[in-house]
Symmetry: D2
């Protein structure tokens, strides 16, 4: 089975979990979504992240979603296994790794404050998921209120051999990428694969700073793939031109609280999801908001021909 | 099956979950603990609260602990079903109510801020656990960072008929009890059973203010039972005298972060738990701390003859 | 003296406080900045906000900055008077209103949680600054951790006649504007002037939703003025076209932590500030960051001819 | 002028700021209070802390209170100079040190998260108040949300020679004292004077763990003085007996939100303050609460003959 490594690059699309209007998991939409992701050229998938509404699934449902995805694709799949305690984290991690996942991602609980608390939490998490399981460190202060300095990330990378990837979404975070790459160059820490989140809001510069790619859920993963590829090919202006065309929508989708609703709505308009329903608790998009998204899609379609919508 | 009601009074002891030194659930200690609680004269039990290390149990373990307790006692048992989403909350609530629980307790997620968010969250939770399931509202700002004014609690009590009990542990909270009882007297809200937490730190006055009793886990539930009974009997001085004798230990146990460790250690010294182990992540008591607890027990034994310890 | 009213519209530019490299206030740059703002067509100025580094000024310096600005311009000037207690808030408010300010702005202390606490805090603040002083309510949860629902804002607007303006920077906040305008239309609250912040990140839609304009500090206030004017004139596409051209830079400037540093750097490159120094504690821009800003300016210059820079 | 040093021990009483019922500073009560403190045998005083309502004073008032206190007593006086920026911190520190203060105390802003941020903030603060000014580090996570590990405190102690004292009020914090004393013994950090806060709630054990005394504002400073002295004299049981007699009141006073109101009320009942008024924003004690304090005083009077009250 393919696993994520320190050298992994490209785009891992964070997949939403499709529900039907009664709140049941919609596997047929999920299947369509996976076929779509494969066509876009993403490198891998991430499931059961926050934006996959993981906390709203029962354990049985979580395992079922992962099994379905692993059975459907040969892409490497990272699974979010964050949990309030190590026991449920361990049991989910063991099941999904046995089923063929490529690694697990763990977010820090928002009670962590000091550097030592953070390092020690990840040591516990790594022990819980097992030393053979590739671990993705999720650094997202805006959402988790846990702030990791580059030196803490370096400590984690040194102390925990199974930690091979950083999901980077500190904000501002560009200098953090540069600093981490310097620490690696000076052999102060082993290399980490750095994939960036934040909805892609800074991907144009993150790739230039040395990130290996993106792990996020923007509703046009094609854009993420292209920006990573163009930067890698040295086509700076091309990369920014395309990025800037998407930025108005990307920014709109990145609003906390309604971002996932926007994303599901666009996926529905792209013909991928049968419904844009979320499980409670969730926000719903007002008519006004939907019409703004429609307007942004309309404007985007003039600049990116891949914007093809269903009624 | 007995369920909790708006008139429930007395002491609900919050039971810790005993583990052996390998981290497995120790059902033999759990059985001993339940027998002990019954002897102390508590009115009921609460399991799977935060201090029952609920988030560290897998779903299967949670259900197993509840089944064991319900099979072992005829006391009413409240079960903590807090969860990051309503789907896992619903499935746990349904299982434990079917097994004979007396009600479920729900803590607010720490992202709630406004009055409307709080009310709407509890509406969702009540719908999730089902309209027939007695719901205990947990009001604990120090731990959850969610502040509920008396008027919000009144709105919840009015809007959600199944919400019959308040686990009160706001701090300071004495005037809050008085205010809620006034609102009830003025028919601005239906009566709630009010059981107080905070480790019992203000139970001497809370009972005088109109609370119906305590729901907390102090390592001498006998003290809680006596204070509630003496206040109810109008024996104010007697109640305070006994309370004050326990206050040095009670205060020591109430330290956030190590409170549960102190509690388990005392239960071990009382011969109830085979081990005071907690599941990770957890603190451990230093030798110094244990000797301070021993000293407090020694001093307490001079004033309360029920303090009998094993080596 | 002009004061802000419920009907105020347009753009209030939030002015940074210029320092020289020794950390002293640079009045000559401040003067140049004010002349520049007047040329851009802004409606008013805001000084001593967070981005004016107000907390880093002594009381004497604060009063001196305000006096200088008021002496230099005839534009209405809103002054930030947030303070940890009402006594220093009162004394600053009295001095600046006596000197000719157009109103004062008050941010909520981050300890406020409940609706009642928020309303009661603003009642105290309004009493402190005096019933004749126009009060601007600052709604910025991302920075202050205080969440105000539309109904709380409506209560404040009803209870406090001197509160005439909302500085709106909730995020997401578009539906909030719509809801507030509905409440006003239904006469559930008096009209408030709504000026939007958040660096302008959603100004394209905020103006369409009914906001009266912007109060923010983006380094090209010309853009803010144009978007407000074009939306008001019904030139939707024109408004979005210009907005989208600025969005890459606007988004870059809006990063918490370094936003002010970027803004001062651009003002320096526009020839307005002699130095981009901030007072401690502050971040400094890395060389890498500066070169990214330069690149964004270069790209912007191709689409907006007003981008003229000095070496 | 006496300054605080690494060897300072005993009790620094945190003095409240007396106001009359119109909210003006009541210097006559302040004078009476200082005379009283001198009679109790405290080692020093602390003014303009949070419980001195410092943020509610204007700069002029702050300086005036400090001057009055310094003119009235020969006890060393520590002054709280916490401020949102270094410029006002510097100006207050310079004025009070010139007037004869014994040192300054600085609380961390609640935005600090990482170890590096904390250390760097205190480096900035030490530079602001001047290298000759003894600096007291305030470690109070419950109130400030900033968590300092022993290793961070050790870094601060090593990096900042002027930092000579720790105001310790972490909770739980007993092992922290032990750890810091070990670090000192191993020469991993220079010695700090450790004075404990938290209203004295753990002073019985803190002194046994190696703290040098207390810096807090309990309404019977005599108790603090006695506990420190008895522990120092090896009279363990005596120390705990007296401490336990005060614990019911001490615990009551330590409630966040109303603690200062209780304290001022008791000082009024002790004939020291003419009024227990606080400046807004503040809570007021309900009649019910006052009667509970009266009851606790009554009970305490039976065990400590120094409890003498006025009507």
């Amino acid at each position: 089975m393919a696993v994520v490594t320190r050298e992994t690059s490209g785009v891992f699309a964070i997949a939403p979990t499709p529900f039907d209007d009664r709140g049941d998991i919609d596997y047929s939409s999920l299947g369509r979504l996976i076929d779509f992701y494969e066509r876009t050229g993403v490198t891998g998938l991430t499931v059961l992240g926050q934006l996959g509404e993981a906390p709203k699934l029962s354990h049985t449902e979580s395992v079922s979603v992962v099994s379905y995805v692993l059975g459907k694709t040969t892409l490497p799949v990272v699974v979010g296994v964050s949990a309030p305690g190590f026991a449920p984290m361990r049991s989910l991690a063991q099941e999904v790794m046995a089923a063929g996942a490529a690694g697990v991602m763990v977010a820090p609980p928002n009670t962590l404050r000091t550097d030592d608390q953070i390092v020690s939490y990840y040591q516990g998490a790594a022990a819980a998921v097992g030393p053979e399981t590739p671990l993705v460190l999720q650094d997202y202060p805006l959402s988790f209120s846990v702030v990791m300095t580059p030196s803490v990330i370096a400590r984690i990378a040194r102390d925990i051999p199974s930690c091979v990837m950083l999901k980077h979404e500190d904000w501002p975070g560009l200098d953090k990428i540069t600093t981490l790459r310097h620490l690696e160059a000076n052999q102060d820490m082993p290399r980490l694969s750095i994939l960036c989140g934040n909805g892609g809001l800074f991907l144009d510069f993150e790739t230039e700073r040395g990130a290996d790619g993106a792990m996020t859920g923007y509703c046009f993963p094609e854009l993420l793939v292209d920006v990573v590829a163009r930067t890698a090919a040295g086509r700076r202006e091309d990369s920014h031109d395309l990025f800037d065309a998407h930025l108005p929508l990307l920014r709109y989708e990145q609003q906390p609280g309604i971002g996932l609703a926007v994303r599901k709505y666009v996926f529905k308009r792209r013909g991928l999801l049968a419904s844009d329903a979320q499980r409670a608790p969730s926000g719903v998009l007002s008519e006004h908001t939907r019409s703004e998204v429609d307007y942004l899609l309309e404007r985007l379609a003039r600049r990116d021909p891949r914007v093809v919508l269903v009624a």
